[in-house]
Symmetry: C2
Subunit: 254 residues, 2 copies
């Protein structure tokens, strides 16, 4: 199994190093990741500037390529240029420091790495350890390895990916794996206004989490209860419910 | 009707100026848009740096606020800080110079402006004129105004938005409005490798469009045929088909 690994915390972050080393027991690992942290980059790509891919070594050991781009850039460049003709069997993005639950998915560079793999028709998984202050990258990585063992990749749909969120506890303390929906857990943002030394107002964005999604399959419920949350996601934004509402309008051509 | 307008081509671009001026005949318009072009930013937000909102005037006429952030930042800041307690009835993002069809949606700053409005539970529409070289912002704006007249905003679902793509022809030459799906129209990317003057390889991303989506409701079909494409979209990435496949695995807890 040939595995391309990226992330959004940057190639020097602990999460990707632990993931890459552990997964090299499972397959042939290639790391192509952003040179610096690219959190909350959404699904950005670099279209106006060229990309550089620099070799990163830890001592004498080659680790991977650092790219001056986003996670999506890294997946594109990794598959199309760095790996060339070699077929990639699996794209992994992570391990992220912090959860990607609910509406985090929309903003997440980690998830965008996996969705870019999905767009390139490669089975793809985003992995997050659900604590920013005290993540457990090893338990998240072990949960991923366990999940990989149980997935039939021949059934993995084109243009789809898995969003994996692992409670930040030791692997043996995880309660199991739950299939979940992306919930509507979100941030209620507010802005703190300040004056800069030149008399201009500027704003810091702050937010508090709103968890009002009562669906028992909500992703954050699973994590709260100590389960690994496994959310099947698609790269598409189609809204069949809204479509039904609009179809009632005679205004539209059929 | 209080309308917040943003875009991803930047506040000085022709598309947003035409849109804002025309829409001021329909409602109370507030423009909060990126200070510079932010194309292909996906759904990025600014979380590590503060945001400035500078007043932009054309001559003596106040036009709006230029923000050192992404379209999603502009919508957040506009609703939460600049408009303060005033309720926003509609978020518009555009008019983009160029189509946002198929997988463009995933990368599009224009669409992300509308999806951010959706997340803040405000009816939101992204508007694109389907030519980068010769856009017709006025016909796109007129099509939007016509669409607004025919939408029952009380039925507009929370967390949903509309992605509007308008052929770049005169308004009178548009054939009508079609409800469409986001298609799987995508780019097959490749990279051109070059050497910089210091001996390092760098890459330019290039791509050709793949239009192999045979669904007659595909967004790009409607535009090709001269219709305005109206795609209902959601901010969520849930994948019910993939969920069905995974549910067959006994591995997951129920």
């Amino acid at each position: 199994m040939r595995i391309l690994i990226t992330n959004d915390d940057g190639i020097m972050s602990e999460g990707i190093i632990i993931l890459a080393r552990k997964l090299s027991e499972v397959g042939e690992v290639h790391v192509v990741a952003p040179d610096i942290e690219r959190s909350a980059t959404g699904h950005a790509i670099t279209i106006r500037n060229p990309l550089w891919a620099k070799e990163v070594k830890f001592g004498n050991e080659f680790f991977g390529y650092a790219v001056n781009g986003t996670p999506a850039d890294c997946v594109k460049l990794g598959i199309q240029a760095i790996l060339g003709d070699k077929k990639v069997d699996l794209v992994l993005s992570g391990v992220n420091k912090g959860a990607n639950l609910g509406t985090d998915v929309m903003y997440s560079g980690t998830v965008s790495g996996a969705l870019e793999g999905a767009m390139m028709e490669v089975p793809s998984i985003a992995i997050s350890s659900c604590s920013t202050s005290n993540p457990n990258f090893m338990s998240a990585t072990k949960a991923l390895v366990e999940l990989i063992k149980h997935i039939d990749f021949s059934n993995f749909p084109k243009f789809s990916a898995i969003n994996l969120n692992v409670p930040a506890v030791d692997y043996d303390d995880l309660k199991g794996f739950k299939l979940t929906h992306q919930s509507k857990r979100r941030f209620r943002d507010f802005f703190e206004a300040r004056q800069d030394p030149f008399g201009n107002t500027y704003y810091w964005m702050l937010g508090e989490i709103v968890e009002d999604d009562r669906d028992p399959q909500a992703d954050y419920h699973a994590v709260e209860q100590g389960y690994v949350s496994v959310t099947p996601i698609t790269m598409f934004h189609n809204d069949p419910e809204f479509m039904k509402i609009l179809k009632k309008e005679s205004f539209f051509e059929h």
